[in-house]
Subunit: 413 residues, 2 copies
């Protein structure tokens, strides 16, 4: 296929996402303990069962009063204990000692900060004086001021970060409905490929793609099923594809080196379900032969087999689909501006992502930016990414990025 | 303490880091399977035991030849099987069919791409012709070209990302020395505070700080020990502090609301070991009363008790220390440029971080940037961060950020 016939990466991804939307592909809800829900995604909106705060509280250390008693001399009638509703009753001219977060006793409508108080005698419960005038409501947070019962406090699709975990627990919610983890099948292949932890014979190579993708996908919410390494035989692929359609929510084929396998894989994918292949070939380096399909509402990917292509195409195309299956959206990539240290040639008709190392201690750092040093590897070996802090994009239409120009580095973290 | 006497956040953190460096505080190494080492940090440099590639390989589909045979007519003497070293021997005028990644047979020194070949007869092993002239080494990757035996391929302190996992496995390394997970003790307090999953009586509040920090610290490599909620009694704090010095590598006190506790906590921390408190009070909002100590080489933190302060100060100050304990450096925060939607007042003598929501569908999006909408909450309740995509900083010396200005949003992800 000629490059200028290929879809741009953005168009290819949009086509995949539109097909997933049309198929309404989304994992079902499952109820989990909030304590284990960190980094999961909400299956439904969350409505507060209670008011927050649950009672009127002071926002400062001070004395609860009627605003109309200030400025003036006040009589201390007692102290509000933390962890209890106070049974004090504050009348005009009364003051009740209250700590930050403590309950505002009945009758009081404001708090005078302790810094604005002068003691008039030595006794604990004596007379105090303030020259400050407080308004009703000052230094008080009303019951339900933050959250009222029935308020929608979180939306379906939200990623449960630290603050969502805290927010749920603060409402007394200890079980929450999240989307089930998508089951993702990984299928490697190649007669020369052996499991990464096996000894190799000369001429064999270790399968590092499955452990790398398994780690990445698990981190982003997947439950990974490893189908191992298939021989370069059509029947083996057909069996694995059928099994994946029964067991998985998403399937990723990682290509081997065999020409015949490249020839039969599209047929095998199309036989997995309707509509089948949406995109085959993207104006993208590394990963031009990437294949996207939706088969009976499930995303299926055919990724190129070399380790750099696998990692980069999975990041760009499989992760957004994985988040979509969880009813959510992939977090923004972390971009850092940097000064390119040398020219990089790029194919004009492809969107080209190349690895760079970041260095803070070069002259360009004087401009407040690190230097981005392009990493070139002839063999597409994974060590090109080991030395890399991130990837830089040369867009379609650009045939050279020049040394000294400012580029955005998409960090690989 | 008056604000202008306080250390800036950067100076305070530098002081802590310098003390940890001086104490050479770092976790010991432990050997783990590479399959479970994802997101761990290397305890030592990694040296390659082998060459990569382990044998001469083709980078294309084509015919292995002697460069001197091209251009011209070539006799096909066989095919290199994937997964084996070839026993073919290529002489002048010979060609051996080879696939991408396949072994270059003895005698050959270059590969002619299959696209540059014309078949001269119908037989499989017949004569072929090429008009291309290849140079010695063309389309060949030499043994050890990427990695030579003894090369240092990864450095101590490196975070093991997908590509490091793949890189280690590609070298046949299946066990790796990483730094042991730092044990971090979390100590909550307050007579009004109850565990987050307990029923509450009126006047009580749930402890959400421990589950939030536990989630965050675990994600960044810690092994968290939860000491529960202490009563506001000095003896309870002293016991917990002693136990933490025996069991933990790092200790975090989360303040309760009690004034007496605020008074005795510094003494309790100083009694944990030398040099003791380094910083008490930072020109930082939210979290001015934050306390840092190093006690017998172990970092100890006293964080303010309100949930927003806890999360923000832990992110800014405890996470960098946690990475340092692992012999590494905290990843760069993810910053996004945005247009501030409204004025924000800020105390001139504090570095002030406030939460913002990000909105893409406002007029400012026309400038290619989202809008950052400040979130103000009177009570510092956690829902101020639930609605937030991230935090914006008003530096020391600034008393107002104005609507329409461009700000960096530090994403909370």
């Amino acid at each position: 296929m000629r490059n200028f016939d290929l879809l741009s990466p953005a168009d290819a991804l949009a086509k995949l996402m539109a097909a997933l939307d049309a198929a309404q592909t989304r994992m079902p809800a499952e109820s989990v303990s909030v304590k284990t829900a960190y980094r999961r995604m909400l299956a439904r909106d969350v409505t507060s069962p209670i008011a927050l705060p649950e009672f009127r509280r002071s926002t400062v250390d001070g004395y609860a009063v009627r605003a109309g008693s200030t400025p003036g001399v006040l009589r201390v009638i007692g102290e509000v204990q933390m962890g209890e509703l106070s049974n004090l009753r504050v009348k005009l001219g009364d003051a009740a000692l209250v700590h930050t977060g403590g309950n505002i006793p009945e009758g009081a409508d404001a708090v005078v900060m302790v810094e604005q108080i002068k003691s008039l005698d030595q006794s604990t419960w004596g007379k105090i004086q303030t020259q400050a005038q407080v308004s009703p409501g000052e230094n008080v947070i009303q019951e339900g001021e933050d959250v009222r019962p029935g308020d929608v406090v979180m939306r379906a699709g939200a990623l449960l970060r630290e603050q969502e975990i805290g927010g749920l627990l603060s409402l007394g919610i200890t079980q929450v409905d999240v989307t089930r983890k998508p089951r993702v099948v990984l299928i490697a292949s190649g007669d020369e490929v052996v499991p990464a932890d096996s000894p190799t014979r000369p001429g064999q190579v270790r399968n590092i793609n499955t452990p790398m993708l398994s780690a990445m996908l698990t981190r982003h919410g997947a439950d990974v099923l490893d189908y191992g390494i298939l021989p370069d035989m059509r029947a083996a692929f057909e069996d694995a594809a059928q099994r994946a359609m029964r067991e998985a929510d998403m399937t990723i084929f990682m290509a081997g080196s065999s020409v015949s396998e490249r020839d039969f894989t599209p047929d095998v994918v199309n036989a997995m379900g309707r509509p089948g292949i949406l995109v085959h070939g993207i104006a993208f380096r590394p990963g031009k032969p990437t294949l996207f399909a939706v088969c009976d509402s499930k995303p299926v990917f055919g990724l190129p087999g070399n380790p750099i292509s696998v990692l980069v195409t999975a990041t760009m195309f499989a992760l957004p689909a994985l988040y979509r299956l969880q009813g959510s959206t992939m977090p923004r990539p972390n971009l850092v501006g940097a000064i390119l240290s040398s020219d990089v040639k790029s194919p004009r008709d492809l969107e080209h992502w190349f690895p760079v190392a970041l260095s803070e201690d070069r002259p360009a750092a004087a401009a407040g930016m690190p230097t981005a040093e392009p990493i070139t590897t002839k063999s597409n070996l994974i060590f090109g990414l080991v030395r890399a802090a991130g990837l830089v994009c040369a867009p379609i239409g650009v045939d050279r990025l020049t040394a000294g120009s400012v580029v955005d580095v998409r960090l690989m973290e």
